[in-house]
């Protein structure tokens, strides 16, 4: 009888892989965009079973709520729906297929042949390779009270991440906020209508 952890892993893995295959092979670009939605949700589920709750929420908020909406906007604005030009053309599938197959083979053989060192160090993790500990972290209700209070999975990771962002990662945190600001200004400048050049085709802003 497989553990609940395993069942959820394989469920999310199935969702991720099937929808990612749809993204890669679908002929319709709109279908690909909606398959990407399920990929992002599946990845959020994987974050949850890896006890990264803050990242799971950030994934849903930023990827599903932000990036995917941007992509769908891009698809809708740049495809002439009336001309049925919505099909995504493909090129050079066979070489890409061979290359990707070789790449997958190399990565998987590296991963499966690697001797992964067992870290039992951080007390909040318990022993990751001991499957009972994993189950108790992912489902805190099943652990004994001391186990639950020892692992930080019960408190959530937002506290630790916030502490790290204000201490060890303060400089990257500030830098990334500046990058975000610059990207926003840059995107607004790039996408703005060119007032001096009237010959450019105007986007339909009313819709």
């Amino acid at each position: 009888m497989p553990e609940l952890f395993d069942i959820f892993f394989y469920l999310f893995a199935l969702v991720i892989v099937t929808s990612a295959v749809l993204v890669a092979f679908s002929h319709n670009i709109v279908h690909a965009a909606f398959a990407l939605l399920f990929t992002f949700f599946g990845i959020a589920g994987v974050y949850v079973i890896l006890s990264a709750d803050f990242l799971a929420v950030a994934q849903i908020l930023i990827y599903v709520g932000g990036i995917l909406i941007l992509l769908v906007f891009g698809v809708m604005l740049t495809n002439r729906v009336s001309n049925i030009d919505i099909r995504a053309a493909v090129r050079s599938r066979i070489p890409a297929f061979l290359l990707c197959g070789a790449l997958l083979f190399i990565i998987v053989s590296l991963v499966t042949s690697g001797h992964w060192i067992r870290y039992d160090q951080p007390p909040w993790k318990g022993s990751p390779w001991n499957h009972d500990a994993v189950a108790s972290v992912t489902t805190p209700m099943q652990g004994t009270p001391t186990e639950v209070s020892n692992n930080q999975g019960s408190q959530g990771t937002a506290l630790e991440i916030g502490k790290l962002a204000m201490t060890d990662y303060l400089l990257p945190f500030e830098l990334v906020s500046i990058v975000l600001l610059v990207a926003l200004i840059g995107a607004a400048t790039l996408a703005r209508q060119d007032k001096s050049n009237k010959s450019t085709i105007r986007m339909e802003e009313s819709t």
Binding site: P2, A13, R93, L190
Partner: protein, 103 residues
């Protein structure tokens, strides 16, 4: 059946990464290429979080994953702006046909 451990997550992320590479290589539509890039970034993120969970890096991996998500948001915004500009100028977003961003 082997209990799910670190290699399972790494293999899942490898599959996602390869599918992203495939999407990037085969699509002509620039937005579909962007979707491939998002798949690749997510594959990297799964690795970061899995190593945080099973390794001893103590939330460093999750911080890296957050930075990756922020950079992905920046990249999507700027890339979409460029794609819209490209479409306005040349009426195409095919990466094989587009060859200029400026008159």
């Amino acid at each position: 059946m082997i209990p799910v451990g670190l290699p399972h997550f790494l293999v899942l992320s490898a599959v996602l990464f390869v599918l992203g590479i495939f999407t990037m290589l085969t699509r002509k539509n620039a937005i579909a290429v962007l979707m491939g890039i998002e798949l690749i970034l997510n594959a990297a993120n799964i690795n970061f979080v899995a190593f945080t969970r099973y390794g001893a890096v103590n939330f460093g991996g999750q911080m890296a994953a957050i930075f990756v998500i922020v950079i992905a948001a920046c990249e999507a915004a700027v890339a979409l702006a460029i794609v819209l500009n490209l479409y306005r100028r040349s009426q195409t977003i095919s990466v094989t046909e587009a060859n200029k961003l400026h008159d």
